[in-house]
Point group: none
C-alpha cells in the first residue's frame, strides 16, 4: 500500500525527537552538558546514534535546543510569578521565591543552565536567557523605584546581583558534593529559600522586611 500515512509518521517522528530531547535533559540533569554523551543519550532513548543526527545537526545543536527549551520554561515561570497582584517588592519576592524553589528541585539542571561552561552555540542561548532574566528583574526593580518602594539604584546591576545571589546560594551549596551538610533546621528547604529571598529583598530595599 502506498505510503500515505504521512501524518502518523510525522507524529511518530515528532515523538522520537521529543524522546531524544527528554532523554538528553535527563542526562544533563545527571551531570550537566559536558558529561552528556551522544552514545548514552541514544542508549537511553533506545535509538541508534545516527538517529540523533537525523533530528539535530550536531551535539552542540542538540544541546542548544535543550537549553532553549529548558530556559524558556524557567523564564516563563519567573515572568508569571512577577505578574501577580501587588507592589513591585511583593512581585519580586514572589518571583525570587519561585526561582529559588525551582532551582532547589533540580540543582544540576539549574547549574547547567546558569553556570556550566558550554560550547559557543549553547553559550549564545545562555546570553539570551540571561538577558531575559535581567530584563524581567530589571523592569520590576524600575517599577519599584517608580512606586517608591525600592530606593533608587542601578537596576541592571541589582538584577544581576539577585540572580547571582540566588544561583550561587542554591546551586553552589547544593551541588552533589555538598549534600553532606548535616541535616537540621538550617537545611530545611523552606527556610533556605526564605532566607535567601529575604537577603535579596533587603539588598534591594534596604529595609527589614
Amino acid at each position: 500500500m502506498a505510503y500515505r500515512e504521512t501524518e502518523k509518521m510525522r507524529e511518530r517522528k515528532a515523538r522520537a525527537r521529543q524522546n531524544i530531547i527528554e532523554r538528553t535533559w535527563e542526562c544533563v540533569a545527571e551531570g550537566g552538558f559536558r558529561s552528556a554523551r551522544i552514545t548514552r543519550i541514544a542508549g537511553l532513548a533506545g535509538v541508534a546514534t545516527g538517529t540523533i543526527y537525523r533530528h539535530f545537526e550536531s551535539r552542540e545543536d542538540l544541546f542548544a535546543e535543550i537549553f532553549r527549551l529548558a530556559t524558556q520554561r524557567e523564564v516563563d515561570k519567573v515572568a508569571e510569578a512577577l505578574n501577580v497582584y501587588g507592589n513591585a517588592v511583593e512581585r519580586l519576592d514572589n518571583a525570587l521565591r519561585k526561582f529559588a524553589q525551582r532551582a532547589l528541585k533540580g540543582p544540576m539542571k539549574a547549574w547547567a543552565l546558569i553556570a556550566e561552561p558550554v560550547d559557543p552555540k549553547v553559550e549564545e542561548e545562555r546570553l539570551v536567557y540571561r538577558k531575559a532574566y535581567a530584563s524581567l528583574f530589571e523592569q520590576a526593580i524600575r517599577d519599584g523605584i517608580a512606586e517608591g518602594c525600592i530606593p533608587d539604584q542601578n537596576a541592571r546591576l541589582a538584577s544581576t546581583c539577585l540572580v547571582g545571589a540566588i544561583s550561587e546560594s542554591l546551586v553552589g551549596p547544593l551541588s552533589p558534593t555538598q549534600t553532606d551538610i548535616p541535616p537540621g533546621q538550617d537545611n530545611n528547604e523552606d527556610e533556605l529559600v526564605n532566607t535567601i529571598v529575604c537577603f535579596c529583598i533587603r539588598g534591594l530595599t534596604g529595609t527589614r522586611s
Copy 2:
C-alpha cells in the same frame, strides 16, 4: 656528605614541584582547570610530562593541590581584611570589597575556584574552601548580631548568600560572553564593586548604608 647531597636533591625536587605548581596555576588562569593540559603544563615548566607524574599522582591530584594552595591564599586575604579595626559591618564591608576586587582582577581564576566544574578530588577541596569562607563570614555576621549592628538571622546561610551574590555578580558578568555590555559609568570597576558590596551589606543589615 652523602647527607648534603640528599639535602640538595630534596631542595631541587621541591623547587621543581613549586615550578610545576606555578605553571599549572598560570594555565588555569588562562582557561580554567578543564583546559589545562598536562602537556602544556609540562611545556611551560620545561619538564617532561612524565616528570609531572613524579611529583603528583595524577592530573586530578595536581589540580587538587593547586586548588588547595590558591584557595588558602584567598581565604587568608579575606581573613586579613576581616581583621581590621571597626564594627562587624565595617569589617565585613572591607572583606567583601577585598573579595570582589580580587575576583575582578583575575576573573578566570575566580571562576575556576568558585564555579568551574571539576573532578571529585578537586571538588572536595572546594568544599573545604567554601567552608572556610563560610566560617569567616559567618563568624563576622555573628559578631555583628552580638554587637547589634546586624539584625538576628541565620548567619551561616547569610554568609553563603554573600559569597554567592559576589561570585555570580562578578564572575558571571565578566565571563567572555558578557563583555558586550556597553561601556560606560556602569562598567566602571569601582562602581561595580561598590554596588555589589552595598547590596550585600543591605542584604545583611536591612538598612540603607
Copy 3:
C-alpha cells in the same frame, strides 16, 4: 483495461528512472561520482532515497548505469566526427577536436568518465568505454596507415596515446587547482584545443601539420 493500467505504470516507472539518471548525472557534473550522495540525488529528483533502490540495486549499480549512458553518448559523438568526408588524418583531426571541445565544456564530467577513481562495477564500464574509444581511433589509424597518410605503427597503442594526451591535457590542467594559470593568449580555449590536437596529429603522423 488492466493491461492499459500496467502500460501506464511501466511508462511512469521508466520516466521516474530516467529522472533519477538525469539528476545523478547532474550531481556527477558538479563533483564527480565520489561526492554524489544518494540523499542529494533523491532530493534533486524529488523522490525518496528508498525509491532510488527500487530502480537500482545499489549506488554502484546506479553509477555504472550513468557511466554507461554518458559514455555511449561521448563515443557516439566521436564516431560521428570520424565519419566525415576526408582522409584518415583529417577525420582523426576532426574527431580529436570534437573530443577535446566536449571535454572542455564539461571538465568535471570528462574527469569523472576518464580519470576519477571509481568502484569496481563502474570501472568495468570504463573499460568498455576505453575499448570503444580505442576501437574507433584504432580503426581510423589503421585506415590512415592503409591510405599512406599515417606511418606504420601500433595502432592500438597509438589510439591510447591520443586519448591520454587529450584527457590529461584538458582535464588535468583545468582542474580547480590549476585555474591560477595567468590568463592570456595561452588560455584561449581555441588555441588550447588547437595545440593539443596538433600535438596528437604530429605524434601520429610525424609531420608538421
Copy 4:
C-alpha cells in the same frame, strides 16, 4: 639512570616515523590515498593509531608529507634523466622513457601522484609537483627550440601534453581493472614505453624519429 640517550631515542623516533611513512606509501600503492585508513597504516606499522598523530598533525598532513617525498623522488629522477649528454630531443627522449618506466612499475602510485583526487593540502603539494615537471620539460623544450631540433611552439602547453600523454597512456590502461588485456607482443612493456615515447617525441618534433 638518567635519560641521556637522547641520540638513540631520536634515531628510534626517526625510524618509527620512517616506518609510518613507508607503511603509508604501501597502503597508497594498494589503493590510493583515499582508501588508506589510519587504522590500517597503524596496523601495518605495528603502532597505535595515536602514534601516527605524534608524528603527523593529521591524516591530511601525513598524506601531504608522503606526497612530497614520493614526488621529489620522481622529479629528481626526471631531472637526472634530462641531464645526460645529447641534444634536447635526446634528453627529452631519455626523460620521458624514465618517467614512463617508473610509472609502469607502480601504476597505482603513479595514479595517486598524478590523478587521484586528494584533499586540499595534498593537492597543494601536487601543484608544486606539476609545476616542477612542467618546468623541467618546458625548459628542455625551449632548449630544443633554441637548438633548432624542436620546432617553435608553446613550450608550456607542450610539456603538459607530454605529461598527460604518458600518464594517461600508462596509468589509465594499466590500472588494476585493465590487466585483463590479453598478453602478447603488444603488451610487452618495452614496446609500450617505446611507442608512447615515440608518440610524444613526434608530437613535439613533428618528425619520424
